[in-house]
C-alpha cells in the first residue's frame, strides 16, 4: 500500500495523510485542483452554506443535526459514484450531522474594525428557555431504552454532567458518541472514518473499518471506538462494532453503557446523500436496541483537512453549579 503516500513522504499527521489520499482515490467525486495551488478557505465554510437547524428531529437527546427533508431529497438526485470494485464510493466530506450543536456564525462591522465571534449571549444564570431545552432533551421520543435499574444512575449523571462527564475532562467521547463521520476515505479492503473534533473535547478521532473479509480479533484490547468490521449488503455498508471500554457515554445526557455494547452501523449512499443508521445493543443495560438515523450530505467541494484539536481542561475546579449546554 506504499503507493498511497507517493508525493507525501514528508507529510506527517493523519489529517495530512488524508489530504494525500484524496487525490488518488477521490476521482469518483469532483476532481479537485492540486493542493499546492488551491486557495484553501478559512474554516469549513459550511456554517453559511448549509445552515441546517434540524437538531434532534426524532427526540434522541443527541446533538447530531439533521438536514431539512428538501435538502436530503435534492442531494439524492446527484450521481452515486462507484469504485472499480463496483461498490458505492463513500469517499468525501459529509455534513452536517457530526457538527454538534455549537455551530456559530461570526461577523465584521461595516468599518471592518470589529470582529464578532458568536451569535448569542448568556446572562448570569441560565435563561428559562435553556432550562426548558435541557429538560426537553431528556424527554424525547427515542431516548436510550434503559432497564429500570439503570435509569436513576443515568438521570443523576445527566443532571451533573459538568462534573461527571468524562469528556469534560478531555477523555475521548468514543463511538458512537462521536457521531457520524465527517470525512470518509474508502479504499479497497478498508474504509477510514475521520471525525471533526475541533469543537469538542475529542482529540484526533478516526476509525479504520476493515472490509477485507476478516472477522473480529478477540485478542484486541477494548477501546473507545471499538473494533470495526465492515461488509457490503447490496449498496449498504454494514459495520459491526464491538470490544468497547465501558467508561464512555452515548451522549451528553449521562447515557452510560456497558462493555457488552455492540453497535451495527449502516451507510447507504444515494447521490450526494448518505443514510447513516446505528443500532446500539447493550444486553446489560438496554431492553432493546436503540436505533438512530441521520442523513449526511456531501459537502465542502473546496477540500479542507480536519484539524487536530488538543484538549486541555482548565475549568473543572472553577465550576460552581451544574449548568450545562
Amino acid at each position: 500500500m506504499k503507493f498511497r503516500f507517493v508525493g507525501c513522504a514528508r507529510v506527517t499527521g493523519l489529517a495530512l495523510i488524508v489530504v494525500c489520499l484524496i487525490p488518488a482515490f477521490g476521482a469518483a467525486q469532483s476532481a479537485p485542483a492540486p493542493a499546492q495551488v488551491k486557495k484553501v478557505p478559512t474554516g469549513y465554510g459550511l456554517d453559511k452554506d448549509q445552515p441546517f437547524a434540524g437538531a434532534d428531529p426524532n427526540g434522541t437527546g443527541l446533538p447530531w443535526r439533521e438536514p431539512p427533508p428538501e435538502a436530503v431529497e435534492a442531494a439524492k438526485k446527484g450521481p452515486t459514484p462507484h469504485l472499480a470494485d463496483g461498490h458505492p464510493d463513500l469517499t468525501g466530506f459529509w455534513a452536517p450531522a457530526g457538527w454538534g450543536y455549537a455551530v456559530t456564525s461570526g461577523s465584521v462591522s461595516a468599518d471592518g474594525k470589529t470582529h464578532y465571534t458568536q451569535r448569542r449571549q448568556e446572562g448570569p444564570v441560565q435563561p428559562p428557555e435553556k432550562v426548558a431545552e435541557l429538560k426537553h432533551r431528556l424527554e424525547g421520543s427515542n431516548l436510550p431504552p434503559y432497564k429500570a435499574d439503570v435509569i436513576d444512575k443515568v438521570k443523576y449523571f445527566g443532571e451533573h454532567q459538568s462534573h461527571e462527564d468524562p469528556a469534560f475532562k478531555c477523555a475521548p467521547k468514543g463511538f458512537p458518541r462521536v457521531g457520524p463521520p465527517t470525512e470518509i476515505v474508502q479504499v479497497p479492503n478498508e474504509i477510514v472514518f475521520l471525525y471533526d473534533t475541533v469543537n469538542s473535547s475529542e482529540q484526533n478521532a478516526f476509525r479504520v473499518i476493515s472490509t477485507d473479509g476478516r472477522d473480529h480479533d478477540g485478542t484486541l484490547n477494548p477501546s473507545y471506538y471499538g473494533d470495526s468490521i465492515g461488509h457490503w449488503e447490496g449498496n449498504t455498508m454494514v459495520i459491526d462494532v464491538t470490544n468497547f471500554v465501558d467508561d464512555t457515554w452515548l451522549s451528553q445526557n449521562g447515557t452510560i453503557h456497558s462493555d457488552a455494547m455492540h453497535v451495527v452501523e449502516k451507510l447507504t449512499r444515494e447521490g450526494y446523500m448518505i443514510d447513516w443508521q446505528i443500532s446500539i445493543e447493550d444486553p446489560k443495560m438496554f431492553t432493546r436496541p436503540w436505533v438512530i438515523e441521520r442523513h449526511l450530505i456531501h459537502g465542502l467541494k473546496g477540500g479542507h483537512a480536519l484539524e487536530e484539536a488538543p484538549c486541555v481542561e482548565h475549568d473543572y475546579g472553577h465550576l460552581v453549579n451544574d449548568d450545562r449546554n
Partner: protein
C-alpha cells in the same frame, strides 16, 4: 512602560448587556457571572488554542507596577475559526484592553472574555453584534 491597572467591576443594571460566547463545554453560567465585568489593560503572554476552551493569558500591572498574570477563557477553537476569528489575529506581546466577566467562585485574575481592544483601534468581540449593539 508602566501600565496602570484599570479594573472596573461593572455591575450590570441592564445597561451593559454581556456578550457571552456559547460554550460547548460547561455552561458559562456554571463558572462566570456575566453581570459583573472588569476591564484591564495588559500584554498578551500566552495563547492556548485548545479544546474545550481557548485560553489567553496577559500580564497586567497593578497599582504598584507589579505584573499580575491574568487568565481569560473563551469558546473552543472550532467555534472561533468558523466565526472567522483565528489564532493569528492575536500575538504574544500585543498590548490590549480586555473586558471580561468575573469568575463566580471568586478566583481573581480569571475572566470570560467579552472583548479585546487592540492598540490600532480594532476590536474582537466575543459575542454577537446584536448583543453588543450600542455598546461598542
Amino acid at each position: 512602560m508602566r501600565r496602570t491597572l484599570r479594573v472596573v467591576v461593572a455591575v450590570s443594571f441592564g445597561l451593559l448587556l454581556p456578550a457571552i460566547p456559547v460554550l460547548a463545554h460547561h455552561s458559562a453560567t456554571a463558572e462566570f457571572d456575566s453581570s459583573k465585568t472588569f476591564t484591564v489593560k495588559g500584554t498578551l503572554t500566552k495563547l492556548e488554542w485548545v479544546n474545550p476552551h481557548v485560553y489567553m493569558y496577559a500580564d497586567v500591572a497593578d497599582e504598584n507596577g507589579k505584573l499580575i498574570p491574568y487568565s481569560f477563557e473563551t469558546g473552543p477553537p472550532g467555534n472561533l475559526r468558523r466565526a472567522g476569528v483565528v489564532r493569528t489575529m492575536f500575538n504574544v506581546g500585543d498590548v490590549v484592553t480586555i473586558e471580561a466577566a468575573v469568575a463566580k467562585d471568586g478566583t481573581k485574575h480569571l475572566g470570560l472574555l467579552k472583548a479585546m481592544h487592540f492598540a490600532d483601534g480594532h476590536t474582537v468581540v466575543f459575542g454577537s453584534a446584536a448583543d453588543s449593539e450600542g455598546k461598542n
